[in-house]
């Protein structure tokens, strides 16, 4: 057994993918981090202090974890969802009744979305109360606030997609709030958002595109910046 | 030792979770259909409502046809006591006679309804309904006759 594994680890195919040996010495452990695309965001060594959960609670990391869960479940849900009236609603029913694990996927997506809003907000509180927003991290704090706004917008745009009473009136109430912005700006904004004056098929398509493409891409870019800055400012 | 504990622990968690899920998604037993009456007023039981709930679709349709075409002679309850019965000789058949009715096949009953007494060597006073009632309507009537005299087994 050991022999076979040994052969595998030394084969050219394996070596072409993983350029480091088994992470059994500090050198190979360091290599594991910086040769790995996904792990290279981390430094090879971290302060022991920052491993303490009670300091960061891992809230930022978990927010990102939720984002991953949402991306995966959301991607799968997109396979069954048509953003049109009233198909959207019947697709929800089909997810519930016919699609394998469809209800589970939708539940995961829904609850993870709610959790993410709360998680990002809590992360912001943690950052504030530990004073981690102070210079030189002020810009990263601003990026973080924008990420919170993006998270809420993502959740909000997704709220309309099932096209049920809850969704329709939740969104109607929300956009009516935006209409209060003076100088006709609110009217313009809500018209832009809804693609019309009422929540209808146009709004559904717009929210769908915002939810599945524009906002996630913007989020990814900002997240990249956010993580990069964390690392540069001495974080994990 | 530790591995055993782990296995026990994880299997316990798994079972607990399954239990949780089973409780949450418990499917209700079929409820009794029909409208519950307003509790503010004692409900009056109505015969025909009970009939509707107890009879199958065919029997209900059959009952409706029976009351229109057959009851004048055979009576509303199929006892052969319709208001026109005493003008007739021989008397109309009593459909609640289990022994007699159960001995007749569906095909025979259908023949009688469709061709009348003359078609089956019975009294000509029984008209033939083949020209008036469609095949499935005759079937409904047979279904209702079977309801009036359910087979005894």
């Amino acid at each position: 057994m050991k022999h076979v594994m040994g052969r595998l680890y030394t084969s050219q195919l394996w070596r072409s993918m993983f350029r480091h040996g088994l992470p059994d010495s500090n050198r190979t452990r360091a290599e594991t981090i910086f040769y790995n695309f996904f792990l290279h965001i981390h430094p090879t060594k971290v302060r022991k202090r920052s491993l303490r959960y009670t300091y960061t609670w891992g809230l930022g990391g978990l927010s990102f974890g939720l984002f991953i869960v949402l991306t995966v479940t959301g991607g799968l849900l997109m396979l069954y969802y048509r953003p049109s009236v009233p198909q959207a609603y019947w697709d929800m029913k089909d997810l519930q009744f016919v699609v394998s694990s469809g209800q589970f996927l939708r539940n995961m997506h829904r609850w993870a979305a709610h959790a993410m809003v709360a998680m990002v907000f809590l992360h912001m509180l943690r950052v504030f109360y530990t004073g981690s927003y102070r210079p030189p991290k002020e810009f990263n704090w601003a990026v973080g606030v924008l990420l919170l706004v993006l998270t809420i917008l993502l959740s909000y745009t997704g709220y309309l997609l099932p096209w049920d009473q809850l969704a329709f009136w939740g969104i109607s109430v929300g956009t009516n709030m935006a209409r209060a912005i003076p100088f006709g700006l609110g009217e313009k904004m809500s018209f832009l958002l809804l693609g019309g004056n009422i929540v209808g098929e146009n709004a559904l398509v717009r929210f769908y595109v915002l939810h599945c493409f524009i906002l996630p891409v913007a989020g990814c870019v900002l997240m990249g910046i956010h993580f990069w800055r964390v690392r540069k400012d001495g974080g994990v | 030792m530790r591995a055993g504990g782990l296995a026990r622990q994880s299997s316990f968690t798994f079972l607990a979770l399954l239990l949780l899920i089973a409780c949450a998604r418990h499917d209700d037993a079929p409820e009794n259909g029909g409208v519950r009456q307003d509790t503010l007023e004692p409900s009056s039981s109505s015969v025909s409502t009970a009939d509707v709930a107890n009879l199958t679709y065919e029997q209900r349709q059959g009952q409706h046809l029976f009351l229109k075409y057959c009851q004048v002679c055979h009576g509303a309850n199929g006892r052969g006591d319709g208001f026109n019965a005493f003008n007739l000789s021989p008397k109309p058949r009593d459909f609640t006679d289990h022994r007699y009715m159960n001995a007749l096949s569906d095909a025979r009953l259908l023949e009688t309804v469709s061709q009348g007494g003359k078609g089956v060597n019975k009294s000509v006073l029984m008209p033939s309904w083949g020209g008036r009632l469609r095949k499935n309507e005759q079937g409904y009537i047979i279904a209702y006759l079977r309801y009036l005299a359910p087979s005894s087994h």
Partner: protein, 648 residues
């Protein structure tokens, strides 16, 4: 480090297990067990039944835009071998609509897309249309069938009839119903006495059990005020006035002399063909049992003399009585039809009208939308309408206020309760009580549930026949109006069907017989209580009517010459007695059944062509007739006709 590894091991294991549960749950879905059970069931049957392939099945009904997955579990719908099997495997009864063309939920409702029992029968919060219980099933027929009588849907048909009779559309907008005639209240102050009106308003059915007037559940005070208000309306429509009593009715003695004549005329006029007396008799008009305690003698006299003058639109014939006969009939009614029970009760104490009674009475009249049915003082249109019911069947549960009642929260149960007990959900509701039985309330509910805004393709809909616009002109037209023929007879699709459809009368009956029948009507069927009244029409009037009928109520295609030789007659006699057993229903010389009309003089009553065509296909002329269609050959029909024509 070891602890970390252990935690990692446990969490990874749990992680994988958790992610595996959902696919596992999917694998053991409810419908699969039904399919396994079905396959087991059919493998035990003696007949060969194809087992089901495991998997979700659905019917896609494009024209109705429905997808029904009911067939996933209801697997035996098309298998005659499973007629007695338990649900969900039982065979579907054979009906005119194949479920493969119409799907399941179009008729049964429920959530067609669902694949679990609970969700598919729809007893879940966010599905408003759970599967109809059997007693409401016929509501679905109403989605497409807009005609008055829906075949194979007796409950729906009854419901529609009740809605029309109760005049629901006086207050509620609903498609497909016509407003029923209701009496005008102008002149009511000169017609009835106050005591009667108070009692009537408080409980109409106590006076006349079959009245269409509902009980508005008025308090004593409200009834009093409304009565005072109504009693102020003394003058009749179009300023018609009562003539006062003729001298013949003025004194007791004079009246007593007339009683015998009155009694005879009352019977000859067959008043009870339309008016019941203490509940017995016809059902077209109001009960006469206590009419002398209700209406004044002046009014009775004026009304019978010319009904339409005091009550425009009423379908009461103007009998051709002379003044003496008229006074006699009124005298007879006055002596005979007295309400002895209330007469013995103490008179209501003299009323001191509330000074504001007129305004308050008018407010009550408007509040209860009395003008929805009754004309009064030019107030013709209904002012306060009830809720629109055009689409009541599609009403969502969140739009219904169940109040504090604890009935089942479904639309049918709401409607049944509301119809039976109109003010149960909120005391501010104004709907009157019609005292419907449970059965009637359910029938009405069925008819209402069919009023949905569901989109149904036009080609599936069945509409009622368009309203007949037949309106005879000239002398005949005046007579038809005056004698209120449409009140009982139908002509060219217009009128009631209490009596014969006259559209083909002249093809049916011989001219001489018709004239004779106008003079002395008699009952053609031994068991009927209603029959044609003697209208006391003059010979000239009869001639006008018969001549018109001979010209218009006739179809040349029904003429036929029948050979009536001895051979044919004896052959017909054999057919009558020995082959088709006609004597089971028809009497000749007092022998035979009395389901159909007696045939004693049929040879001098009917025309041979009519008999021939009727025997060939009775329902072509009278769809509701229960006469069997014996599929006679032309030869047989001619022989029977010959036999019948020999009965003079």
């Amino acid at each position: 480090m070891k602890k970390l590894r252990l935690t990692f091991a446990i969490s990874s294991l749990t992680f994988l297990v958790m992610l595996a549960i959902s696919p596992l749950k999917d694998f053991f879905r409810e419908w699969k067990w039904y399919q396994y059970e079905y396959n087991e069931l059919v493998s035990d049957l003696p007949q060969r039944v194809k087992p089901a392939e495991i998997g979700i099945k659905q019917l896609w009904i494009q024209k109705l835009d429905r997808i029904d997955r009911c067939v996933t579990c209801h697997l035996g719908l098309n298998e005659p071998a499973l007629r007695e099997a338990k649900q969900p495997f039982r065979t579907h009864p054979k009906i005119d609509h194949d479920y493969e063309d119409f799907g399941c939920t179009a008729c049964h409702e429920g959530q067609g897309s669902a694949t679990t029992y609970r969700e598919s029968v729809g007893k879940v919060v966010f599905w408003d249309k759970p599967v109809f219980p059997t007693e409401f099933m016929e509501a679905s027929c109403a989605k497409c069938h807009k005609e008055r009588e829906v075949p194979h849907a007796p409950i729906l048909t009854l419901g529609r009839k009740l809605i029309e009779e109760a005049n629901c559309i006086a207050c509620h907008q609903m498609n497909g119903f016509e407003k029923q005639w209701t009496p005008s209240l102008d002149g009511i102050g000169s017609k009835v006495n106050r005591t009667w009106l108070v009692n009537w308003l408080k409980h109409p059915k106590a006076y006349f059990g079959k009245t269409k007037m509902p009980n508005f559940l008025l308090t004593d005070e409200e009834a009093g005020i409304l009565t005072d208000y109504l009693m102020t309306f003394k003058s009749f429509p179009n300023n018609a006035a009562l003539d006062g009593l003729p001298p013949a009715l003025a004194s007791e003695e004079e009246r007593a002399k007339l009683l015998e004549l009155g009694s005879t005329r009352f019977r000859e006029a067959r008043c009870i063909s339309c008016h019941p007396i203490n509940g017995r008799g016809g059902y077209v008009a109001s009960d006469l049992g206590k009419v002398a305690s209700k209406a004044t003698a002046e009014w009775l006299y004026g009304y019978i003399k010319n009904p339409k003058r005091l009550q425009p639109g009423v379908e009461m014939p103007r009998y051709r009585f002379n003044d003496m006969e008229l006074a006699a009939v009124v005298a007879y009614i006055q002596s005979e039809y007295v309400d002895y029970e209330t007469a013995e009760l103490p008179e209501l104490p003299p009323q001191i009208p509330n000074p504001a009674y007129f305004e308050q009475g008018q407010a009550l009249f408007k509040k209860y939308n009395c003008s929805g049915c009754h004309e009064l003082g030019g107030m013709k249109k209904a002012e306060e309408m009830g809720p629109e019911l055009k689409f009541i069947g599609g009403k969502k549960l969140y739009e219904i206020d169940f109040g504090s009642s604890n009935i089942e929260q479904t639309l049918p149960s709401y409607l049944v309760t509301k119809i039976k007990n109109p003010r149960v959900f909120s005391p501010v509701m104004k709907m009157p009580s019609y005292e419907f039985t449970n059965e009637e309330a359910q029938a009405i509910t069925v008819a209402m549930l069919g009023n949905t805004d569901e989109r149904i393709p036009e080609e599936l809909k069945v509409y009622p026949k368009p309203q007949s616009t037949y309106s005879p002109q000239g002398e005949f037209g005046t007579l038809v109006e005056d004698l209120a023929c449409f009140g009982c007879h139908t002509m060219f699709g217009r009128g009631r069907l209490v009596a014969t459809d006259l559209t083909l009368e002249a093809s049916q009956a011989q001219k001489g017989w018709i004239s004779g029948y106008f003079k002395i009507p008699y009952s053609l069927r031994p068991i009927l209580t209603e029959r044609m009244p003697n209208l006391f029409a003059s010979d000239a009037e009869i001639k006008v009517m018969v001549d018109y009928m001979e010209k218009v109520f006739i179809a040349d295609s029904l003429e036929r010459n029948i050979r009536a030789g001895r051979d044919e007659i004896s052959k017909g006699r054999i057919l009558y007695y020995e082959k088709h057993g006609c004597q089971a229903c028809h009497q000749i010389n007092l022998k035979g059944g009395y389901v159909g009309p007696a045939l004693d003089n049929v040879g001098s009553r009917l025309k041979p062509g009519w008999i021939f065509h009727w025997l060939k296909n009775p329902q072509a002329f009278k769809p509701e007739s229960i006469e069997p269609n014996n599929n006679l050959t032309d030869e047989e029909a001619e022989a029977l006709t010959a036999f019948l024509m020999s009965l003079k």
